[in-house]
Symmetry: C2
Subunit: 90 residues, 2 copies
């Protein structure tokens, strides 16, 4: 079993209202020193067997077709516990 994580974030040029809402709430709660907040999605996929290159290629396909919208989102794939991480800007 391997756990592969897919992080999906809005592209930097896309306005992130949820992140702005969190950022706006911070001073009211007494937190300062945070210049920007962006919110995205995190998917944890439990994969049968090892995280081979072929498996990771399939996860990239899943990330591109099901987990993210390539028009407005970027995604990054990494094996939890592994160092290698592949970012993908569509």
């Amino acid at each position: 079993m391997a756990r592969v994580v897919v992080d999906v974030m809005l592209k930097p040029e896309i306005l992130d209202p949820q992140g702005k809402a969190v950022q706006g709430a911070l001073p009211r709660l007494g937190f300062s020193g945070v210049s920007d907040v962006r919110q995205g999605k995190r998917f944890e996929l439990e994969i049968d067997g090892d995280a081979t290159d072929e498996t990771l290629a399939r996860v990239h396909e899943i990330a591109e077709t099901l987990l993210s919208n390539p028009v407005i989102e970027d995604y990054a794939v990494h094996v939890e516990g592994g160092s290698a991480s592949a970012k993908h800007r569509a």
Copy 2:
């Protein structure tokens, strides 16, 4: 500037309908070999200055009070590009 990431996931014992929906869609798209999918939130906080211990303590406070619901969610804090990562199970 430092980027601190807060990952918020439902506790393992909590049913994750979004994750189940993604998992259910995978076979229809021809993907097999994925035994479980869980979906959570990822926050990227841009911090003024370095990610000192004091700053990370404040991010933990933000994560606990604003970004997660400690009753049903766990969170993990890590500095992007940094190795250290602190998981927190409430």
